[in-house]
Symmetry: C2
Subunit: 113 residues, 2 copies
DNA sequence: CAGGATCCTCGAAGATACTG
DNA sequence: CAGTATCTTCGAGGATCCTG
């Protein structure tokens, strides 16, 4: 066990910090479909500001997950490996959101009563 | 395609919001190992405050992902399905953190110079 | 021991205006 | 078009104190 997510100072937390940024998953997911230019990506993702997209891309670039080649943002080899768990999450999301919202509604009306 | 993660107002974003909370993944991962009491969980997870753990658990409870049975927090059936993508993420994290940090260091010293 | 209530900090993210 | 710079807001999360 080289990296235990439970250890507070564990470097594996880096990934979690990465994912905990609002747009990381969406951007990775997006570039996983196909490499895109800045504007394209922003247009595809609903409601992201240019600033946030810039920040997200640069953070990912720093971690070696994406590169900008001739104005086109692309996943690196490392980035593509992240695509798998991220897509798994996206698929789970698309599959179980209804259940999440149902559960939410049940608690809204009162579970025990 | 019922839920498209790209749509800004898409309910699938619910999951992403969930995951974007700092402790969600760690807590799910933890309860995935075995059901635990509050104190146990807090002890296992390094550096989480009681307040944050409470908030995280209650949020997950609202979404039907965990339940508290006789003082013991447990994943629901739905929660267990989330365990898979979350564990995939954790495994990725444990496997590739070194590469992340290496890439970071390369940028720190200066990539182009 | 398992939280609830309150106060505070810090940083992510938006809005806007500007630049190469 | 693809960012950068500045200002501001908002909320997650920590610290502390209190309670059943």
């Amino acid at each position: 066990m080289l990296h235990d997510v439970f250890l507070a100072d564990c470097p594996a937390r880096t990934t979690l910090d990465l994912v905990s940024h609002r747009w990381t998953v969406v951007v990775i997911h997006g570039l996983g479909i196909e490499p895109m230019r800045f504007g394209e990506l922003q247009a595809r993702i609903g409601g992201i500001s240019a600033k946030s997209l810039t920040e997200t891309l640069q953070r990912l670039e720093r971690y070696g997950l994406v590169v900008r080649l001739d104005g086109t943002w692309t996943l690196t080899t490392l980035g593509e490996t992240l695509l798998e768990p991220v897509s798994a999450l996206a698929r789970w999301s698309e599959a179980h959101t209804d259940e999440l919202l149902d559960a939410w509604d049940r608690h809204e009306t009162g579970t025990s009563s």
